[in-house]
């Protein structure tokens, strides 16, 4: 990070921000100061107050106390429009684009250039858009339909939208959540470009490696309070984590060794159209088998095939040595294969239902007494896994949508454990889960293996895969490149394998 472009005057400064909601002090005297040309990380666990702070900055919430300074001038942010007019723009984690419209229309949505009689000035629209796009160095043009773009490129459209106003400060909220490594590099270049233009960047992320790669300073929040600002160059992951959660997170290599049992699940030559082909692997009882690869390498699709959501085009699935056909999730569940899906809220939980009902959903049919579901038996199951998995909820009546990500994930895991599966497949076990709960989920996965479950973990985070797995299957473009044991795997060899580089031929 070059220091010369850094202006000592902050472009943006928040001071003593207090925001209370009924019963909660969400922000308690928080300060944040972003210099021109600086990338400033904002870190904290889920619920630490990052989103509330950003909503205050964006004019969505009015602070009870405290002041926002833009270029050292106190400003009362009244609305998102106001924030934008002040040059404060947000790139949100969730994309808000209209799929059916072109890139240009999306970028200038609400501010289309006009000619007389309200007609759109198309020439100017496309001209302006192409100028912005050329700054971003992207491989698509103004007339592309947004729905046809990859997620990464859609994110670029969001960024382009931010650049239509000359921004003073740009806030990136978890921008890399759905990006591949190559796409991240492009994003970081864009951020560096903003930095070179003297824009202040606030970067919100849970990912330490990114924070240390691109930011200059780090401000940490915890429980709505300001915990300090660190110079990135002078600190390390441990110190930041400790500030965030008051203790350190263990992400060392998996080193626990217990006896492995029989092979629970074996897959031979499994293929599914273009999604993946000739996949072989097995997983033993007591073992955690990790699947690592880029987004789109076919890992999730394999899980979906094992769970009966996809029809394999070739190959064989053996459960306890016996060849089985899995035609539907009902089949899979009946045979003891369960799936904790990637998208917890969209695929794993019925958000409007309470904790108990979510947990017993696949087995209510077996909990009948007479024609009715036995609520007592359900509460019994819930109580058991409530304690066992240490799920933090005031009670089973709590609507699942109100729980934190980590506790929601535990509900999904508890749902399957209560049915005593043979094989548990966990797709992205800690996506969108805060640091503290991450280690709990990791320990839980190790514990389950120790208890004799065969566990398959699919993850896009290398430290996670290395931490929980006994063996790691590296996938590239629908194929298994190599299977590593935890003793032999190195980060380099793993990266080479998932990038499609043959071992030995790498430079």
């Amino acid at each position: 990070m070059t220091d010369d472009v850094r202006d000592p005057r902050p472009v943006l400064r928040l001071e003593g921000i207090v925001k209370t909601f009924p019963g909660v002090r969400a922000l308690d005297g928080v300060a944040l100061s972003v210099l021109a040309g600086e990338v400033h990380a904002l870190m904290g666990e889920n619920g630490a107050g990052k989103s509330t702070l950003m909503k205050v900055l964006g004019g969505l919430h009015q602070p009870d106390e405290g002041t926002i300074y833009i270029a050292e001038r106190p400003v009362k942010m009244t609305s998102p429009m106001h924030a934008k007019a002040e040059g404060v723009v947000f790139i949100h984690q969730e994309l808000s684009l209209a799929d059916e419209l072109t890139v240009a229309e999306n970028i200038f949505l609400g501010a289309l250039p006009r000619k007389s009689l309200g007609r759109v000035d198309w020439a100017r629209l496309y001209g302006d858009t192409d100028r912005i796009l050329s700054r971003l160095n992207v491989g698509f043009d103004a007339k592309t339909r947004v729905g046809d773009l990859s997620i990464a490129n859609q994110q670029m459209v969001e960024i382009a939208r931010a650049l239509t106003v000359d921004p003073r400060a740009v806030i990136f909220d978890e921008p890399t959540a759905s990006l591949t490594d190559a796409e991240k590099v492009v994003l970081f270049e864009v951020i560096a470009d903003l930095q070179a233009r003297g824009v202040g960047v606030i970067y919100i992320s849970h990912r330490m490696e990114e924070i240390f790669r691109i930011t200059d300073r780090i401000t940490v929040l915890r429980d709505g309070q300001y915990r300090g600002t660190l110079n990135t160059a002078e600190t390390n992951e441990e110190e930041v984590t400790q500030l965030m959660i008051g203790r350190s997170l263990d992400l060392s290599r998996n080193a626990s060794h217990h006896e492995l049992g029989e092979i629970a699940l074996e897959v031979r030559g499994l293929s599914c159209g273009k999604l993946f082909h000739d996949v072989d692997f097995h997983v033993r009882r007591g073992e955690v088998l990790g699947f690592y690869g880029l987004v789109g390498a076919g890992r999730t699709e394999i899980a979906e095939t094992l769970f009966g959501l996809r029809e394999p085009s070739a190959g064989e699935i053996l459960l306890n040595g016996e060849s089985v056909r899995i035609a539907s999730p009902q089949d899979a569940i009946a045979r003891g294969i369960s799936l904790v899906p990637e998208d917890r809220k969209g695929q794993g939980l019925v958000l409007g239902m309470n904790c108990r009902d979510n947990m017993t959903l696949p087995q209510v049919g077996a909990l009948r007494s007479g024609p009715f579901v036995s609520g007592g038996a359900e509460v019994e199951i819930f109580d058991k896994y409530h304690k066992k998995l240490d799920i933090r909820t005031p009670g089973w009546r709590q609507t699942v949508g109100n729980l934190s990500g980590g506790n929601q994930q535990k509900i999904v895991i508890g749902k399957w454990l209560s049915m005593h599966p043979e094989v548990l497949i966990v797709d992205e076990p800690t996506r969108g889960i805060d640091v503290g709960s991450k280690s709990e989920i990791h320990n839980l996965i190790r514990d389950l293996a120790a208890q004799g479950y065969a566990v398959i973990v699919i993850s896009s985070e290398m430290p996670e895969v290395l931490h929980v797995s006994d063996r790691i299957v590296a996938m590239f473009s629908g194929q298994v490149m190599r299977t590593f044991t935890s003793e032999e795997v190195t980060e380099d060899s793993l990266i080479q394998a998932i990038s499609g580089i043959e071992p030995g031929r790498a430079a």
């Binding site: 889920n46 203790r247 969209g346 009902d357 579901v373 709590q398």
Partner: protein, 350 residues
């Protein structure tokens, strides 16, 4: 490996306490009944000054009659509730109602049925109810197997079933009066009319179905998040099919109860019933998007609408005015609901 045992993380995210949760639920479910009370008070007071008749509005007999009159649409609305909780909608209920009525009345005129004397009655009932269930099954099967949206499927079947009604007897009414049936329909048990008993009975059964059985639980889950339901091993199609058969059955039951007494069906009967039923369901708080709603609250919605009609009539309003007012109230109620829910959500989003 050092064992990490995280201490309790105190999250500032506000989570509902069980008591607060129960209270909120109670308010949500009780709103429609509070509305009914307001209506009763308003019409009683307004009736003192504006009434075109001398009778008091809150007259006990009058209220019993009101319940009886809400039965035809009420029974259908109860069925619509479970369809909508499941995430679907059924626009064909009015046509199903008319067709079932024709089957009921016409079948009793068939020579071999007439030869059976009064034992033709349960047979005619059975035929009508089977007709309803079969029509519902057609809807369910189409929604299940084609994957076309229920709105479109039942829009089509609404036109189709109505076509069948007209094919049956042209523009002519179908009539048959059986005095045994009329006696049954006009009978009262413990003060309540036969139709009222059917309304309450259906409400009780559906309430049990939705809150206590596996089918009910799964229907809620499918309506709330279909993909998660599939991932939990729930077979979505059969549950939808069952619900469509239930509402077909109920549309026929509604016809059976009503036409046993009236004895004559016009081919246009039951038109707009689907919209009245949906109005009652929505007024009761069930969400169009599915996954949320209550059979009991729909019963409240049905009574609230009937009260409005009767009450406005009581103070001298004509039918057009009544419809205008009901329409306005529906929109006002949903607007209010939205405002209240928005506030609630922001509170949680700390």
């Amino acid at each position: 490996m050092t064992d990490v045992t995280p201490d309790k993380i105190v999250s500032p995210v506000k989570e509902d306490t069980p008591v607060a949760l129960q209270r909120r639920k109670l308010i949500a479910q009780g709103a429609i009944w509070a509305f009914i009370v307001v209506e009763l008070i308003f019409f009683s007071v307004a009736g003192e000054y504006l009434s075109v008749s001398d009778k008091a509005f809150m007259d006990f007999e009058n209220m019993l009659l009101l319940l009886k009159q809400s039965a035809p649409i009420g029974i259908i609305a109860l069925g619509m509730t479970i369809i909508m909780i499941n995430g679907n909608i059924d626009l064909s209920v009015g046509a199903t109602y008319a067709l079932a009525a024709i089957v009921l009345l016409d079948s009793m005129t068939w020579p071999w049925m007439q030869a059976l004397g009064d034992s033709a009655i349960p047979l005619a009932w059975g035929l009508a109810l089977l007709t309803g269930m079969a029509l519902g099954a057609i809807n369910g099967l189409l929604v299940w197997k084609t994957g076309v949206d229920a709105f479109i499927v039942t829009l089509g079947s609404m036109l189709g079933f109505r076509g069948l009604v007209f094919m049956y007897n042209g523009e002519q009414p179908t009539s048959h009066l059986n005095w045994t049936l009329v006696d049954f329909a006009e009978a009262r048990f413990l003060g309540l009319h036969t139709a009222t008993w059917f309304l309450l009975g259906v409400a009780l059964l559906l309430w049990l179905l939705m809150t206590r059985t596996v089918h009910g639980r799964n229907a809620y889950a499918i309506g709330n998040n279909r993909e998660a339901a599939v991932n939990a091993g729930i077979r979505v199609g059969p549950h939808m099919m069952i619900n469509f058969m239930i509402i077909g059955f109920l549309a026929a039951l509604s016809a059976v109860v009503f036409y046993s007494e009236s004895g004559s069906v016009n081919p246009n009967d039951g038109m707009l019933f689907e919209l009245w039923a949906i109005t009652a369901v929505v007024l009761g708080g069930t969400k169009l998007t599915g996954g949320y709603g209550s059979v009991v609250a729909t019963l409240g919605g049905v009574i609230a609408i009937q009260l409005l009609r009767k009450g406005l009539g009581h103070i001298g309003a004509d039918t057009q005015t009544v419809n205008l007012v009901i329409g306005l109230i529906l929109i006002a109620v949903l607007f209010l609901d939205r405002q209240l829910n928005r506030k609630g959500k922001q509170e949680l989003r700390t």
